[in-house]
């Protein structure tokens, strides 16, 4: 049914259609509307049988789901940023134990400094935890990915993280087609656990594995994870057959067929980029954009194929690899480097800084003209940071102060949105 609703509510409806039996979460902006909506669906009796448990921390939330999933229940939670990091130990544990938990991450920056706005720092911090990581470009995409996530998780016996930009998507009210219960039931069969805690057939889950066997255990987990690369496109096709809409998959390309410049990005920024691509195409620039729907496992082959023929790749990166050269940028760069294709990593949108069409046009133009460094920051206040760096150089020993840097900076309205 076509609805005009807030992204969070759309996701909650989609999750409810998947019939989770245990939902457990801790509130954190900007995930709150998702969890509140699911909680209301449970309390009103629309989603049952389901236990909705309010816990005392995100660490507890993931842990509750570990216990529930191991006992045969389909499980769901949502979190962001600090909350995702707080449950880190349990996140790794869930993947290691092979539990098909589905979690929404409403992407948000990670402190310090504390910041409640959108970027991808949180998901990036957990990219090696062994979860499948999917990124939604729109709220429609988010709805579709959550439904596919439950089936993917249960088939692979691996947890799946569906990432959607906090506030930008979660709090946007837009048009979404919500599948029917009948469609979802057809696509998603009941959960059949690979391993279950059951007095009739006792098993020991989570014992110690020493040096003599740990490597093999991890290798096998990796093999399972990589198995998602084959399964994800198949599930997307199956989903398409059931709901009549193609959604999901590993990567999706927009106007890349003859593109000399290809932009690669995750999440909602791709929408804005598509408008910029259209504008630049009208002026004769051969440019396209690729959205990475699946980030982990990293779809090397699919992405390499999508970038075929490009002279240059511009990666928009909503995270910062401290002390390094980019996360998505590094992954993408490694793919195309031996073709002679240049990769430009543009760090943008950190901490919710708005990315305007004008800024994107400018930076794409700079990449095309070769005026861009390998790693650059979009819309950085160069004057402010240069002043502070000069002061630090002269005054060795005092750490940088954000307050000092921005004390005299007027922040235009456009940046806050």
């Amino acid at each position: 049914m076509l609805r005009q609703i807030e992204g969070s509510r759309a996701v909650a409806e989609a999750v409810a259609l998947c019939r989770p039996r245990v939902v457990c979460a801790y509130p954190i902006s900007p995930q709150t509307h998702i969890i509140e909506s699911v909680g209301t669906l449970v309390k009103s009796g629309r989603l049952k049988p389901c236990e909705f448990i309010n816990v005392e921390s995100e660490f507890a939330a993931m842990s509750v789901l570990i216990g529930a999933s191991a006992t045969g229940a389909r499980t769901y939670t949502a979190t962001s940023s600090q909350g995702l990091l707080y449950m880190t130990e349990a996140v790794f544990n869930a993947a290691g134990l092979g539990l098909p938990i589905v979690m929404t991450v409403a992407n948000r920056a990670v402190g310090a400094p504390v910041n409640s706005w959108n970027d991808h720092s949180d998901a990036m911090a957990l990219r090696d935890a062994g979860w499948v990581q999917l990124f939604a470009e729109t709220n429609q995409h988010a709805v579709d990915l959550h439904i596919q996530a439950f089936r993917l998780a249960e088939e692979l016996s691996l947890p799946v993280m569906v990432c959607m930009d906090g506030f930008t998507l979660t709090h946007a009210v837009e048009r979404v087609e919500i599948p029917t219960q009948e469609q979802v039931d057809r696509f998603l069969p009941p959960f059949e656990p690979r391993l279950i805690l059951d007095p009739a057939e006792p098993v020991s889950i989570g014992g110690v594995v020493g040096p003599e066997a740990y490597t093999e255990a991890r290798y096998l987990a990796q093999a399972r994870h990589l198995g998602a690369l084959a399964r994800i496109p198949e599930l997307a096709d199956d989903f398409g057959r059931v709901v009549g809409r193609q959604s999901g998959g590993l990567v999706s390309s927009y106007r890349c067929e003859d593109a000399e410049t290809i932009v690669v990005a995750l999440g909602s920024i791709v929408g804005t980029t598509k408008d910029v691509v259209d504008q630049m195409r009208e002026e004769g620039t051969k440019i396209g954009v690729v959205h990475l729907t699946t980030f982990r496992p990293f779809p090397e082959a699919a992405l390499a194929a999508a970038l075929e023929g490009a002279h240059r790749v511009v990666v928009i990166e909503k995270a910062l690899a401290a002390g390094s050269r980019g996360i998505l940028g590094a992954d993408v760069g490694a793919l195309v480097t031996d073709r002679g294709t240049r990769t430009f990593t543009v760090v943008a949108g950190l901490g919710g800084r708005a990315i305007t069409e004008g800024s994107l046009r400018r930076v794409f133009g700079e990449a095309i003209r070769g005026e861009l460094g390998a790693v650059s920051f979009l819309d950085l206040d160069r004057d402010a940071v240069d002043r502070e760096l000069a002061r630090m150089a002269a005054d060795v020993g005092t750490p940088p102060s954000v307050g000092r840097v921005f004390g005299d900076l007027r922040t235009p309205t456009a940046r806050i949105v």
Partner: protein
């Protein structure tokens, strides 16, 4: 594409206003995207919300730097710098006030806009008359709809029906309809608005 920016203070339903507009556009069969300015939730702080309306799928998520219409729900915000920034030369302006724009001190901005694109709407008074409380957010949409034609009254009413229930629903529908009709009749009708006898009209927000 038609882009609207709403300004108000936390607690005044500014976010709801943008969402209602988006739902109204949807009810009219068009694409719409509404989103708030995001920040710590506290009452009284300046808040903005946004709505895009288009015939085609809306893909961009960039901020609305050049709105086609500005809806100012709280006239005390008129003192804020940058409130009018980016408003298109042929843009629309709806202000919740019982005063004239000269009295508010913003005639300078309004004079650059076409005369029939500017509306002072006594939304709070209308809201109090029909809802008993100073909740002008939905009422402003009635004025906006009549002024710009970007959504139909029926679509706004339908959006209100979906969102509210009971007295809030009925009151908002009556208030929106009155604001719409009065705006259609011309600004003079709104300035001369009278509430029904026996009700006390609260002080206007400015």
């Amino acid at each position: 594409m038609f882009q609207v920016r709403f300004h108000g203070r936390g607690g005044q339903g500014v976010v709801t206003a943008a969402e209602l507009l988006a739902v109204a556009a949807f009810n009219d069969g068009r694409h719409a995207q509404a989103f708030p300015s995001f920040g710590a939730e506290r009452s009284g702080a300046p808040v903005a919300s946004f709505c895009r309306i288009s015939e085609r799928e809306i893909r961009t998520r960039a901020p609305i730097d050049e709105p086609d219409a500005l809806v100012i729900q709280d006239a005390t915000l008129l003192r804020e710098l940058g409130l009018f920034s980016g408003l298109k030369p042929q843009g629309y302006l709806v202000v919740n006030t019982a005063k004239t724009l000269e009295e508010l001190g913003v005639a300078g901005i309004a004079k650059d806009l076409p005369a029939n694109h500017v509306l002072s709407l006594r939304a709070t008074e209308i809201a109090i008359a029909h809802l008993g409380r100073p909740l002008p957010n939905a009422v402003m949409l009635g004025g906006l709809a009549a002024l710009t034609g970007v959504v139909s009254l029926a679509a706004v009413v339908s959006a209100i029906e979906e969102r509210f229930s009971g007295a809030m629903r009925d009151g908002n529908i009556a208030a929106v309809t009155e604001a719409f009709n009065q705006t259609r009749l011309g600004p003079e009708a709104l300035v001369a608005h009278r509430v029904s006898p026996g009700r006390t009209v609260g002080a206007s927000p400015d």
